[in-house]
């Protein structure tokens, strides 16, 4: 009932997660950290705006922008561009400017 058609053909397994500080590390060391493109509403915003901020996520099939954190490594917060179907990582950079 979820997606179309048969299970997709196998794609190349995602390699190690490339941490900009530590280099390639096992993906198990990293944790998904949420949607980086959610803007916090200002004072006086409506309940609906707050609900959107708290709960609605991009949740995109295909290339998605995501926060990740190297939780069991250097602790760096990252912004990754990752494909949510193949799990291949297209780019990773430090989240702080």
């Amino acid at each position: 009932m979820t997606d179309a058609g048969p299970t997709p053909a196998p794609t190349p397994a995602p390699g190690p997660f490339p941490c900009p500080f530590c280099g390639p590390r096992d993906e198990a060391e990293f944790r998904y950290g949420g949607d980086p493109d959610v803007a916090r509403p200002g004072p006086g915003s409506s309940d609906e705006d707050w609900a959107r901020y708290l709960y609605v996520r991009e949740n995109r099939r295909g290339l998605a922008r995501e926060y990740w954190v190297h939780a069991q490594g250097c602790g760096l917060w990252l912004i990754a561009e990752r494909d949510s179907v193949t799990h291949l990582i297209h780019s990773v950079r430090e989240a702080t400017p």
Partner: protein
Amino acid sequence: MSPPSIGEKPRYSALRLFLEGLRGQSGWGPAWRSPEPRRRYDAIIIGGGGHGLSAAYHLARDHGLTDVLVIEKAWLGGGNTGRNTTIIRSNYFNRASQAVYDASLKLYEGLSRELNYNIMFSQRGSIELAHSSAEMEGLRRVVNAMQVNGIEASLLTRDEVLDMVPLLDPRRDCRWPVAGAMIQRRAGVARHDAVAWGYARAADGMGVDIVQNCAVSGFRIEAGRVTGVETPFGLIEAKVFGMAVAGASPELAALAGFRLPLLCMTLQAMVSEPLKPCLDQVVASTPNGAYVSQSDKGEMVIGGGLEHLPSFARRGGLAKTREVVASVVEMFPSFSTLKLMRQWGGTVDTSPDNSPILGPSPIPNLFLNCGWGTGGFKAIPIGGKLLAHLMATGRHHPLSEPFGLERFATGRLIDEAHAGVAHD
């Protein structure tokens, strides 16, 4: 017990099986037609999984609405309906959840007879293990909450658990020693395909059209209401629409111009090679992160927790497989010699409070049945009934009232974040 509601379909029975045996099984006919969809219906349900087919059945049976179309992107029951571990239970904490899941369990209890289709519902009991006195207190809290609301559940001592499930690791110094458990004896497992097929056959018998391999590519929206859906068969119009598409809900909502508070992730499951009967119940350990039951074929059906990253991959990662298998072997050391036969994954639509979303969408004549996350199979009968009620009357059934989309703005969340390993 209500008589079967299968419309014009021939009744399945032992006598008919015997007679068909005499004439070469030539008289069965297809369980459902595959008609070309018409241009216009009273109601269209998007999604031919358990919830969508159950909704079609209830529209026809409860509300007399038979000018109904079910459209399915792929094949009936091929999504999460066919990818779960088939556990049916109602051991939840909140009153609103208990009411929904127990109503569903009660419908399952009569479903084989009602649909004249053997869904092989086996009420073998579901055991949730505790590994410390603190965890026992947690289970005591859930059991009390269930008993207060009239739902059967009880606690088991360590000795009682080990007596019922002798394959569990009995040592006191292992990583997850058994301290006791909670049991819901009415819980069990059913044949998942049969649930989808039984509803499809019964709905078809009452006149519902079911069309497979028919993806919705867009909505026609006029004056704030949906008037039709774009499909490979062209535009199909209707007065009221329902969507029950689980992991495809965010995409379908985007086509209709709104967003949902869902996050799609992969939940995987696996089965071992078949064994002789050796595990009588469903056994779960939330702290350890795995649950097991034995299928009628003898395979150990194994599930674990979610993979905590957004994913539409529909296949499980090996890291999680290893974690779940390790948990199972810690519970049942003798299972370490088993070979895994198959491993698979489904895309589950998780909601922020782990409770489903039922009710009107931002478009008033398009109704939602989504957000069941990892626990949708057990809710198929009630999920369909409640969606049908919404579509037929435009109003909530009292059971679905607390589960509307507006709860995320009002803050009246129904927190079931700890409703089991992955609430199956």
